[in-house]
């Protein structure tokens, strides 16, 4: 059975440096759909990124900034980006060399199709 997110994920994974794309439940951190390269631990990324996005969303609201729309985490050997809509989070796992601006724009567009 194909999910409604297959086309969206296929578009995102084509970006140079993107290693995986996942649609994750924000509350439970479970994968709804994903496209990942070999070696990416999708379950772990899904759970931890959903938790991070949930925390960022709550913190932004508590700080008076409104709802969080995009979260980006950079580490020494990789990047994780997340956008949310409703109770779903779209997660992209990438290498440091990824064109973040391009990925961000495509993620924000894709998020409009999450529901």
């Amino acid at each position: 059975m194909s999910s409604p997110y297959g086309g969206m994920l296929a578009g995102l994974i084509r970006h140079r440096g993107v290693k995986g794309c996942l649609v994750v439940g924000e509350r439970d951190g479970l994968i709804v759909d994903s496209t990942v390269q070999f070696g990416v631990n999708a379950q772990t990324f899904a759970a931890l990124t959903a938790s991070l996005f949930r925390k960022a969303r709550r913190a932004a609201q508590a700080a008076g900034f409104g709802d969080a729309t995009f979260v980006q985490l950079e580490a020494e050997r990789g990047r994780v980006c997340a956008v949310g809509r409703g109770d779903l989070v779209l997660v992209v796992v990438a290498e440091p060399r990824v064109n973040l601006g391009l990925v961000r724009v495509d993620m924000l567009k894709a998020a409009e199709r999450l529901s």
Partner: protein, 305 residues
Amino acid sequence: MMDADEIRLMSDVLAADPASLVFLQLGEALRRQGQLDLAWRVALRGVERHAQRPDAHDLLARVAADRGDFDRARAAWESALALAPGHPAAQKGLGFLLFQQGLLQDAERLLVAAQAADPGDASVANALARIRALGGATAGGRAAGPPPVGPTPPRGSVAIPASVSRPSRTTQALAAPVPFAPTPTDARDVFLDVLPDASHAALLLDADGLVVAGRYRGPDGRDLAADVGAQLSGVSDEASRAMRHLDVGAWTHLAVEAEAASVAMAPSGEGIVLVAAPRRVPLGFVRRVLDRAVERARRWLESGT
């Protein structure tokens, strides 16, 4: 003074075109009428839309001073002068404020500059005469004590000398005793020289989410640094936890774009530095401000000043 019809007309113009510079006249008119909450909102919106205009910061400073928020007034005048070092109104406003707070050396420098721009301004001349009668500034830039006129002010506050004429509500507002302003080495002022304008804020937080340096002003002018720091430090804790499990090394930057603001964070020693900016500011720019703030925090922690 403008009448109600003129204020209504300017309000209509601003409503039809939010980018209009009429906010400068409208904010000033409201301030003069004592409608300080409305004036504050107009000035704040003006600074958000026209952050590069020194007049916008000057208006915000005058309204802040009338509201009794002297920290915010000082920050806004400093922003105006950072954008236009010779801005006469900002020189005069900040000069009076520093004079009132006992920082005679800095006050004299600013008021001399303001006098050069308008030699006929009697209020500036009187203030300068008063400063010189007091013997000028001490070596540290702060008067040794409150000016020796009038009743003794409460402990920890100063009163403006009675002989200084006050030509506007702004300077009248400065007459009330207020706490001493932070000194240039105050921890809250550590990031002033790396922030592009008053719409940005930077904080240095320790590992427990407590504010070490910097300030964060809410829309109403209150310092929300402790609240914002406590909320956002939890996000960095979550980032650290995630990084431990994902095998991608330590986290170096974290950015959160929200409806009203963008926030960027980075580790700094045992804590984190965060920069917040209005949502209209591009994330890449916020990131660069953050890099400067991290470097500023590092040097401040190393030097202890």
